[in-house]
């Protein structure tokens, strides 16, 4: 069964100043265990699509299912974990307590929560900050806490909205490698919004390229870089080729110069 199935999904935001067509005619299937990146210019509806899948908003047209259920049923069954564009940590909770929040909300025992939180914090490199409060962390560190929180319940679908946006380059690459490993191990499907072409290419099996006004899927670029993606891959010719392919899809024209955004 596919993790996400969208058929002709559209979303219109109506306001007094007029209607905004955020999404139109989105057809997308994300297989179970598949890693899909969403890329596109600002305002093309990436976050909106993620929010529809997460049942934080309802589509105006079309049909959307998550693991064969309606998004609402999937949300209530806790089928997904989510990391937003903003970290959204609770300021009165310590880092550990923030990571434990989803487990706490679903009645997981104290000892198990503490163990899981320790595991996740070392994964995101924040073991030394377990007892700190969010305001004592930098933006990037807060973002990493939010990522740890989204992984807390080992969801079979991960929804991530530019989770690495606030990270420095080194941490970012380390988190990317970790994310690939986690997803391979847990078999989770991922819908990953990003603005970075190399990031999309490195992480995903398919890159979905979107265009704005109205938000549509303009191209889907398959990336087949194998299951084991180590650091060496970032300098591999196949990696550059895929980056170029996504660039061309994004710009809508073949890019002649071999200039590659190597962020």
């Amino acid at each position: 069964m596919s993790a996400v199935e969208a058929r002709g999904v559209g979303k219109v935001f109506s306001s007094r100043s007029g209607d905004v067509v955020a999404l139109e005619g989105i057809d997308l299937t994300v297989a179970a265990g598949e890693f899909v990146a969403l890329i596109g210019p600002s305002g093309c509806g990436k976050s909106t699509l993620l929010r529809l899948i997460a049942d934080l908003d309802a589509p105006t047209t079309g049909e959307l299912t998550v693991f064969g259920k309606t998004p609402q049923q999937a949300r209530e069954a806790q089928d997904y974990g989510i990391a937003f564009q903003q970290a959204g940590l609770l300021p009165w909770r310590t880092v550990t307590a923030n990571v434990e929040l989803p487990l706490e909300l679903h009645g997981v025992g104290k000892a198990e929560r503490a163990g899981r939180a320790r595991e996740l914090l070392s994964l995101v490199g924040l073991d030394d900050f377990a007892g700190h409060f969010p305001h004592q962390l930098s933006g990037g560190m807060q973002q990493r806490v939010a990522i740890a929180r989204s992984l807390a319940e080992r969801p079979s679908l991960l929804l991530m909205d530019e989770p690495f946006g606030a990270l420095d380059e080194m941490t970012r690459e380390r988190m990317q490698t970790e994310l690939v490993r986690i997803c391979a191990e847990s078999g989770a499907a991922v819908v990953f919004v990003t603005h970075s072409i190399p990031e999309a290419v490195f992480l995903s099996q398919r890159v979905v390229v979107m265009s704005p006004r109205p938000g549509r899927i303009s191209a889907v670029v398959p990336v087949n870089l194998g299951d084991v993606r180590g650091e060496g891959l970032r300098e591999d010719a196949s990696f550059f080729a895929a980056v170029t392919a996504v660039r061309e899809a994004l710009h809508g024209t073949p890019v002649t110069a071999r200039g590659v955004d190597l962020r």
Binding site: L56, R75, I82, F84, G88, L90, P91, W92, P102
Partner: protein, 311 residues
């Protein structure tokens, strides 16, 4: 209501950590309270010096009060009067002990009213948070409720209370006073709690929604902790207004034993013994400060929730 709402609204833009300063705050607050009282006393004496005894006149109209020792006794005379016996009758207690026991009575009644009003305010705010419709339907009534003059309300409450007999329970006069005090206290608490409950940003609310957390759970784990910086000032304000409410209610229901009643009975001897009513008035004002101070002790253990409170 908007005025009150803005005074109750902490600065949301910069959540500054306040934990390290936490311990010194109570001491500082008490110091500020004492300084304010001293300043008031100094002002009082200053007015006595500057304004002529007969008061200030503009043509025929009197614009400033008389400041002779009968109208405005010296601060030290008032303090001295407090330490003297209440009446010339033998065995009469000092004014101080009479006022202390009266204040103790009023404080207990006011705190009972504050407790009822605060719980009622919290529940009402939760109700309005839960149902948007309830909010738009109730807010005008909540505001309107504060425009009803207490004096008009007091005899009604006493009248209703007098008819309550359930088994061995009988409605006491002090309960009417507490109920009127709660009527004043519930307003700031309702408004403060509602603002607090609505304060979590969308990202946090949606996080709870994404976790399929129930409304109760979201209330307990998100909205209630987020409302602490709004609630504490509201509860403090509520305590002060509860004291005012209790005093006014004592007077207008003719309840004996409290400081409100004492003010009235001392005022009757004002012409011969002017320091006495002023002593009682000062005691009533101090009582409000004490009540607010007691309530701010609540905030002591809540440091981590007060990341955004204005102080």
């Amino acid at each position: 209501m908007t005025d009150l709402a803005t005074t109750l609204a902490p600065e949301r833009t910069a959540p500054v950590p306040v934990r390290p300063r936490e311990r010194s705050t109570v001491g500082r607050r008490i110091l500020v309270g004492v300084l304010a009282v001293l300043l008031l006393a100094a002002l009082w004496e200053l007015v006595k010096v500057v304004v002529p005894d007969g008061g200030g006149h503009l043509g025929e109209a009197s614009v400033l009060p008389r400041t002779d020792d009968l109208a405005m006794p010296h601060v030290w005379d008032i303090v001295d009067r407090v330490l003297q016996p209440e009446t010339s009758a033998t065995g009469s207690p000092t004014v101080l002990s009479a006022m202390l026991s009266a204040c103790w009575f009023t404080l207990r009644v006011a705190l009972a009213g504050w407790l009822v009003g605060s719980i009622g305010g919290l529940l009402l705010a939760a109700l309005m948070q839960r149902w948007q419709l309830a909010e738009s339907a109730l807010v005008p009534w909540v505001v309107l409720s504060q425009t009803v003059p207490l004096i008009a309300l007091a005899p009604l409450v006493v009248g209703w209370g007098g008819r309550i007999h359930v088994g061995t329970f009988e409605w006491q006069r002090w309960m009417s006073v507490a109920l009127i005090a709660s009527y004043l206290a519930f307003f700031p608490v309702t408004i403060g709690a509602l603002r607090g409950f609505q304060s979590p940003p969308a990202a946090q609310v949606e996080l709870f929604r994404a976790q399929a957390a129930s409304w109760n759970r979201t209330m307990l784990s998100l909205r209630l902790p987020a409302s602490v910086p709004y609630l504490l000032p509201a509860l403090r304000l509520g305590a002060a207004t509860a004291v005012v409410g209790a005093i006014v209610a004592e007077v207008s229901t003719g309840t004996k034993g409290g400081i409100g009643r004492l003010i009235i009975s001392y005022a009757q001897s004002a012409s011969g013994d002017p320091a006495k009513p002023w002593a009682a008035i000062a005691a009533a004002a101090l009582l409000g400060l004490v009540a607010a101070g007691l309530v701010s002790l609540l905030g002591l253990g809540l440091g981590r929730y007060r990341y955004a409170e204005v102080r």
